[in-house]
């Protein structure tokens, strides 16, 4: 995390009321801003890329486009668990260095789209130092459940997906969207 000093976040810059896609990861429920979500696809054969950190499970073919998939369980240091029928890939779009990237997130199961109102939002509480909260936008309390709202840009920028600045990346900017 590069911005450890910037915390605690100001709620006004964090989660905003609106629609969130919720999904389950172990016992916990997480939410993603619906605008970041491109689509949800069933788990398909993932091609491993040797030499990448375990957080990236590999790459898949999304209608002719190769996208990386991040294993969120591994990202959040949760225990791995065998894929099930309900395991799926949430395809999100993130913007980085002025370019749109499409990335898949492997989650246990997708729940629903929730409209979250202002009064349901809460700031991220401070946990002990070793709980990484940088990629939480905020929390929402809905029907006695807590939904953790994820800052997908943070998750992916802190990921090993881009180990180097884009400028020294691959030799050819193949298939990049602008």
């Amino acid at each position: 995390m590069s911005d450890t000093n910037a915390r605690p976040r100001d709620l006004s810059q964090g989660a905003a009321p609106g629609k969130y896609l919720t999904f389950g990861l172990g016992e916990e429920v997480y939410g993603l801003e619906i605008l970041k979500v491109q689509e949800i696809i069933g788990l398909m054969q993932v091609t491993r890329v040797p030499g990448l950190p375990a957080v990236i499970r590999g790459v898949v073919n999304l209608r002719g486009k190769v996208i990386p998939v991040v294993d969120l369980r591994r990202k959040f240091s949760m225990e791995s668990k065998a894929d099930t029928e309900r395991t799926c890939i949430v395809v999100v779009r993130v913007r980085r260095d002025g370019q749109d990237h499409t990335v898949g997130l492997i989650v246990d199961d997708v729940r629903e789209v929730l409209a979250i109102a202002e009064n349901q939002l809460e700031a991220v509480p401070r946990f002990s130092k070793d709980v990484e909260t940088g990629f939480l936008l905020g929390m929402a309390k809905i029907a006695q459940r807590v939904v953790m709202l994820l800052d997908v840009d943070q998750i992916l920028s802190s990921t090993e997906l881009w180990s180097m600045p884009a400028s020294v990346g691959g030799p050819l900017p193949l298939e990049q969207e602008s």
């Binding site: 054969q45 091609t47 491993r48 890329v49 040797p50 030499g51 990448l52 990236i56 590999g58 790459v59 898949v60 073919n61 002719g64 486009k65 190769v66 996208i67 990386p68 990237h101 499409t102 990335v103 997906l161 881009w162 180990s163 180097m164 884009a166 020294v168 990346g169 691959g170 030799p171 050819l172 900017p173 193949l174 298939e175 990049q176």
Partner: protein
């Protein structure tokens, strides 16, 4: 109105160099335009113009030169007035401006080519006309779009060229340089126009522009041929062999071109690539295979296959452009550099009509610039004496060739200079610890060193090259295009750089291989052969490095499964295949479990930074829709080199590096 003004300007050009009738014609034109003029400022300017001309005609002008200048300036003002309706902000029509940029560039390129031809053979008067027409056309278009600076520059250059085409000044030396400078300045201005289109603001005018205009104007007053030895005007001497008629420009049947946005074209070609893959997924699907046998479905499928292939070929051809513009650019560069260095050269190109993917052409330009500069700076001998002593003509020879070779494009740069200095490079190699003292490696192996970063044997760092940056960059960029670069040289005879480039970036031929449960693709271009190694061909050294015996060569062998951490690598079955790959003189054998076949592949980025992932250069959609990974052969070899060297030591340094033939 505009036509009349144009006529007026033309009459002015005529009058400037001509005699009284021309001047009188100009005077008439002024009245003619005056009849149509409505704008008060225009009427005023025209009336003034008429008065000045009358004075000139009467021979009663105290300062004829000054008056000419004022006439000219007034004309430019008039053209400006005719273009901009007072008060209206200039509107940028993207189509119009875009078209102008493209056309102006084409004209400038043509002009440049003709200038080079003219310089090589000053008797080609037709070439001057072509250059003149180019500037004239641009001037006309620029005035339409109210691009005053461009218009003024084109106008001045046109004046100069006009004198030259009438034989009033020789088109050589200073004049040629001026026109070249004008071409360059015009190119910059055209780029400014492009900036104007994208950003809406015109970049600040180049302060050097005025100086250039002054120089060109001064050029108009260049010595008349009478003051000079009659060398430049073509063959006035009756004794001289009659001039060979300037080869008429080849008449190519005019095809109607359609300008298409490059992005759209790329998307089309990508989509065709997808279609090819989707088609092969359908026709190879197991579900259909049973149904298709012999029936109508089978026939339809093969029809579909045929159409897809044709579409693919068509799609590929859309991106192909001839290398001609690139070669012309290089000719220009060679000319400038040879002037700067004072080394006369003869520059020859062959294969200008060879076509190559435009994207590759763009990427390979810088590489060629480096190689060409290198050849001129270090290759060609500094003085004519040195060349004459070596029994070579005084002028150096530089050849740029393009040709097809085994499904790829070969671009060669050959000079007849000093050649690479084996001893010097070897000494440098020893100094850098690459070779042991007393070692005598093969030429090819030694010459490869010049592609290493910061490896320059040039004793003098010149303005142009020799700083040790260059050839390593060239190599990297060529490899990024999945091409290869080789160098061949004979001491005292010259050096040849050979760039082997794929025809297109969009599709490459790949060999699909399997290791354990994973599939990889090796670009066919990197493969030299496939071997099913017998037990007697495999040698292990100290249980560490493995070697493959190929005829009488030992090639380091790597098990893909181990190299790429394939988890479920199968037990050796005895049916493994060794894929022998080569890059930059290095060879290695990659042991795979099975070769699955060839496939044309569309290379895809993985959407991740592959920095730090040695050995993978991208992804590809395989026939079953899964993603396969493309092996990056140079990267893999670099990763394995240290291992290979250890192995080589063990077997007594007998690794033979193939000398490219």
């Amino acid at each position: 109105m505009k036509d009349k003004l144009d006529g007026l300007c033309e009459a002015f050009v005529m009058a400037e160099v001509g005699d009284r009738p021309a001047l009188r014609a100009l005077r008439h034109r002024v009245d003619d335009v005056l009849q149509d003029a409505v704008d008060a400022r225009m009427v005023e300017a025209l009336t003034g113009l008429g008065r000045t001309l009358d004075r000139l005609l009467a021979g009663a002008d105290p300062d004829p030169d000054g008056s000419w200048k004022s006439v000219e300036e007034t004309l430019l003002v008039l053209q400006g007035l005719a273009q901009v309706p007072a008060g209206a902000p200039p509107e940028i029509d993207a189509d119009l401006f875009g078209g102008f940029v493209v056309e102006a560039r084409e004209h400038l390129e043509a002009a440049e080519a003709q200038l080079l031809a003219l310089e090589a053979d000053p008797s080609q008067v037709e070439a001057i006309h072509t250059v003149f027409r180019a500037f004239h056309t641009i001037k006309g278009a620029a005035s339409c779009l109210d691009l005053a600076t461009l218009q003024a520059l084109a106008h001045e250059t046109e004046n100069l060229l006009d004198l030259a085409r009438k034989g009033a000044i020789p088109m050589s030396g200073v004049a040629t340089d001026l026109v070249f400078d004008a071409v360059d300045a015009m190119k910059r201005l055209v780029t400014d126009v492009e900036t104007l289109m994208t950003s809406g603001t015109m970049p600040a005018p180049d302060p050097a522009m005025d100086a250039l205009l002054v120089r060109i104007r001064a050029g108009v007053g260049l010595p008349k041929p009478a003051d000079l030895e009659p060398i430049a005007i073509a063959n006035l001497d009756p004794e001289a062999p009659s001039p060979v008629a300037a080869p008429a420009e080849e008449k190519v049947p005019v095809k109607e071109p359609v300008r298409v946005d490059a992005d759209r074209l790329d998307r089309l070609v990508n989509l065709i690539g997808e279609l090819v893959i989707a088609e092969s997924m359908v026709s190879q699907s197991n579900e259909l295979r049973g149904l298709a046998a012999g029936g109508t479905l089978g026939r339809s499928l093969s029809q579909l296959d045929k159409i897809t292939r044709e579409l693919q070929e068509m799609g590929m051809s859309l991106r192909m452009v001839p290398v001609r513009p690139l070669f012309r650019k290089m000719a220009r560069l060679a000319r400038d550099v040879s002037h700067k260095l004072g080394k006369p050269i003869e520059f020859v190109t062959t294969g200008e009509e060879i076509e190559i993917d435009k994207a590759i052409l763009n990427c390979v330009t810088d590489a060629l610039v480096h190689i060409l500069r290198n050849a001129l700076d270090h290759g060609i001998e500094a003085g004519a004496d040195e060349r004459l002593r070596a029994g070579k003509p005084a002028a150096g020879r530089l050849e740029l060739r393009a040709s097809h070779r085994e499904g790829s494009i070969l671009i060669e740069v050959e000079d007849d200079g000093r050649g690479l200095d084996y001893e010097a490079i070897l000494a440098k190699g020893i100094e850098k610890g690459i070779f042991q003292k007393g070692e005598r490696p093969g030429e090819q192996e030694v010459f490869q060193l010049i592609f290493l970063p910061a490896f320059s044997t040039a004793t003098v760092v010149t303005q142009l090259s020799g700083r040790g940056v260059g050839l390593d960059v060239v190599r990297t960029s060529v490899e990024a295009l999945r091409g290869r670069i080789e160098v061949q040289s004979r001491r005292g005879r010259g050096t040849t750089f050979r760039l082997r480039l794929p025809l297109t970036l969009a599709l490459i031929d790949g060999m699909v291989i399997r290791s354990g449960g994973e599939r990889f693709v090796v670009p066919t271009l990197s493969i030299t052969r496939l071997v099913r190694p017998g037990a007697d061909q495999l040698a292990t050294s100290l249980g560490r490095g493995e070697m493959l015996l190929l005829q009488d060569e030992l090639v380091p062998l790597f098990r893909l499964g181990r190299l790429l951490d394939v988890t479920a690598a199968a037990e050796p079955t005895g049916s493994e295949v060794a894929v022998v790959v080569e890059d930059g003189g290095r060879r290695a054998a990659l042991l795979a479990d099975e070769v699955l076949g060839q496939q044309q592949i569309v290379i895809k980025g993985l959407g991740i930074s592959l920095e730090g992932v040695a050995g993978i250069s991208g992804g590809v959609i395989l026939a079953d829709g899964q993603v396969g990974l493309i092996l990056d052969v140079p990267g893999l070899l670099a990763r394995t080199t240290s291992l290979a060297e250890r192995g080589a030591e063990v077997v007594g340094g007998s690794v033979v590096v193939r000398t490219a033939g």
